[in-house]
Symmetry: D2
Subunit: 298 residues, 4 copies
């Protein structure tokens, strides 16, 4: 008989992941602040809970996928938070992009109550989540991770483990978003130089993403940058600006100068300050064109 | 019967390319300032010429692969340069990483004498050249490029064309070296932050180069950065510093602010100024570690 | 008859300021965590208190001058903090370099108890404090500032007011430390370029600090940079790194990209990470010379 | 009896300097490509020459003050250039902001003909030139500089000498323009942060330019930045962008990473690329406000 699983936080990513768990035959209770987001899951057989605690109470594994550190704190340790409902020995799988210290702190809170936290940030856009093609990074107690493993197939195409420190996987997640930002800025500068030198952005993009930089990151983000059309919106600039802020916070704490990271953060800040939302975060690439005197295309 | 080809400039890249042309059955005359570099080619049947003009005189296609703009100028328009020996209608295939304007200027010189220049910078390290796995970018008159095509199979795994402006392909080459530099700096910062946060550089590298950044550039350069061991030397820091200088020159002329490019150039400059040679140019990544208080690994 | 004044926090700056208040004839009770720092003031007639609350209890005006936000919190709202001893209507003059929000928060705590906070960060090194030559910036309720004014002559050469928001003066203080850092980096780069071009650092420094940049900041910091001898220590790199961190925090909150501020912070971080303490914070200028391949002067 | 002096190049700076020489009683022949610029000087008694050579032929001292390196080359060594008219032993005082190597090269050309070049870049805006308040920096052969000295009183308020290398004074001039740019960017960032934090730009400017940064550079440029009104135009952005390009060129040649200089250059480039002319070059400060989402003030 299938174990009971809970899934809390039903944004684009959460819904896609929960759907795949349901389709894999798992029994699921779900929770979201805005209940309507749970409708499609209910139709697939999920139980909709009124509070995080209620969703968690019979579950041996509880996934959370929320917007930021504050939301994760609330859903975990707030009134009717999952922590108050969780059975001893149950595992909280914390998937959100948060500060390493947030998961470390929550892991300690779990330990006091006999439950366990495993950090498992995920890499990929909503379409990758739908296709079970996320990359998963785990960190936390070994026993809990082993318990978790049988449930990961419906979510991702691979799991990489980063040891027992529950902050480690999130540090890797932050590095990943930084490295994506660096690839975006690099393409933004290169394609702008190429355009002003008389070349087609698109042609240069096709060359690089089929040769030296033949990987999905360059292909997908590069297409947005080449076309200067930053749709659909995977994540808005203000969302990833928050992630880069976490990167810079870690860099400050660890005393690591990161000149590229500060430039990406500044570009995202300028994008947000200029009121550019409703575009994918890769739209900060437009500043390279602006600063070269090129307007947005068509 | 095979047409006569000439190959001028026999560094690591040139020797590998010329060898592959010979092995493909082409008749080759070669030239290098230091004659000993031609020995292995002579053993394979190449004719060794005493001057560029002599090497070029019976050739319908002349490849050049030299260090920099000055060397290309000398071998082309200097005394006994290839231009003075070249037959009308012959094609000069200019493969070196030089300023776009250098190839534009030489193309005009060719035109006055009835010969033609095709710019064809190549992407890849010496081992890719040996394996006929270079990526080739061409620019120049259409007729000449068609004439050239049958000879490219032994050299590369693919050809991309950038039109008639003989400067265009070199602009793309410069963008490529810039984008490589950006990937290197991004990994340098990320791996350093990870290390100071208690993770293994190697483990983080394996994760990224097998997932989001699953392409040779991140795999190969990333391995040097993860191990902090910048060997073997593909190109020394001073060589690629020259290329980034050309990037910044184009950016100045076209009025394109490129903050990432200036940081890479500054890191390469600091590497050269601190006397760090005999390492691959990716060794500028070490500055990120230095500035975080991490010494070089044993 | 003189009103009772208290002075809490007796580092180099605090002792100099308290001494000048005593010499001006004011009656002073003082407190410092390490009591020995109060010896010279006791000899001049100050009463040494055992706790902040004791020092504050009969005072109408209480100055604090401590290292950072945490120390200010402790001395104000901690056990036996000044807030618990302060009479209604008394004024807390908060002189430390802290985040604007810290003073805003403490001002609200005062208001609940009937006392008042005036922020008054000071500009100048210890020698300026000794000479009553500080520049004073005030922010807070008008009435309290008027009450304070008669006591400022022994401290500074001028007072500038920034309104009622108790965070405003600290924001100006942070801007000031940032602008000092910018002047230092500018001189560091310029003198290094001049030196490598064959000029004497000292001669270039004398020219600029006597002509275009004829003001104490350029004269004094410039002398350290020209001589590459960063003594005496006004404030260590880690101290001002903390201030720049506050600058960047404000810039993040207000969404203001500050490329110069991030460079200064990164240089200070690299200085701290490389273990360079026991030098004045202007010693981050040495990195410009290092990165140009110039060692430190004999 | 007064010696014959020539003044070539009658822009705002040149006219002001030539006028002061005339008023001091010197006999002056003048030249400008656009002759009408000489009208006011003719009215004061100057002889207007048709070519540089004609202006120079009876002069013992010839000042040049032109826009850039190319203009200086033309007026000196071009057809009917001053070099062809100059008497042996005469002194060419080269005042323009040009590359150090340009003056070195021209100095060598003079030496071959028996005349001498002294580099004497000047520091100050047109109003300082009118008021005889420029700062003068000299470099070149000692004897020639001694011959020049009696004529400098009408021009400036002080002379600093940088030795015999004719490139040295221009290097100092370039450092000066860089340091001005750094002060401008520092104020731009600080005033923008202050504004978004609820302070008045003007009030913050008055504080700093009367206390820590009490010197004309901060007062004058700071006023433009505080008011966000970049008039009158001392020099357009494209003019000083050219100077920063020379700074970066020197930094490249000497291998000196200059992160501040690259940022200033990039800001000037973005200003030019966005088509912002008819403002003083300090108007690049507006980008800090733009990037923080603040529009230009009414």
């Amino acid at each position: 008989m299938a174990e009971q699983i809970a899934f809390l936080g039903l944004g684009n990513m959460g819904v896609a992941m929960a759907t795949n768990l349901l389709r894999a035959g798992h029994s699921l209770s779900v929770y979201n602040r805005t209940t309507s987001k749970a409708d499609s899951l209910k139709a697939l057989g999920a139980t909709v809970a009124a509070t995080p605690a209620e969703a968690a109470q019979d579950a041996s594994i509880v996934f959370t996928m929320v917007t930021d550190d504050a939301a994760l704190d609330t859903i975990t340790t707030g009134p009717d938070g999952l922590l108050s409902g969780l059975a001893p020995g149950a595992v909280h799988v914390s998937c959100s992009t948060v500060a390493p210290d947030t998961n470390r702190r929550l892991a300690a809170a779990h330990q006091q109550r006999g439950s366990v936290l495993v950090a498992m940030p995920v890499f990929g856009k909503p379409d990758a989540a739908e296709a079970s093609k996320l990359w998963l990074a785990t960190a936390g107690p070994t026993g809990a991770k082993e318990k978790l493993h049988p449930f990961l197939d419906p979510l991702g195409q691979g799991v990489y483990d980063f040891g027992e420190d529950p902050g480690a996987a999130n540090l890797v997640k932050l590095c990943g978003n930084f490295m994506l930002g660096a690839a975006i800025e690099a393409m933004a500068e290169a394609y702008t130089l190429a355009q002003k030198s008389g070349l087609e952005r698109q042609q240069v993009h096709e060359f690089f993403s089929n040769t030296l930089f033949n990987c999905p990151v360059y292909k997908n983000y590069g297409q947005l940058i080449a076309s200067q059309h930053y749709q659909p919106v995977g994540a808005e600039p203000r969302i990833i600006r928050k992630d880069l802020k976490l990167v810079l916070h870690e860099a400050q704490e660890q005393i690591v100068p990161m000149p590229f990271a500060t430039i990406i953060f500044d570009q995202l800040s300028a994008t947000v300050a200029r009121g550019r939302d409703n575009i994918d975060w890769a739209g900060f690439a437009q500043l390279a064109a602006d600063n070269a005197g090129l307007g947005q295309q068509g």
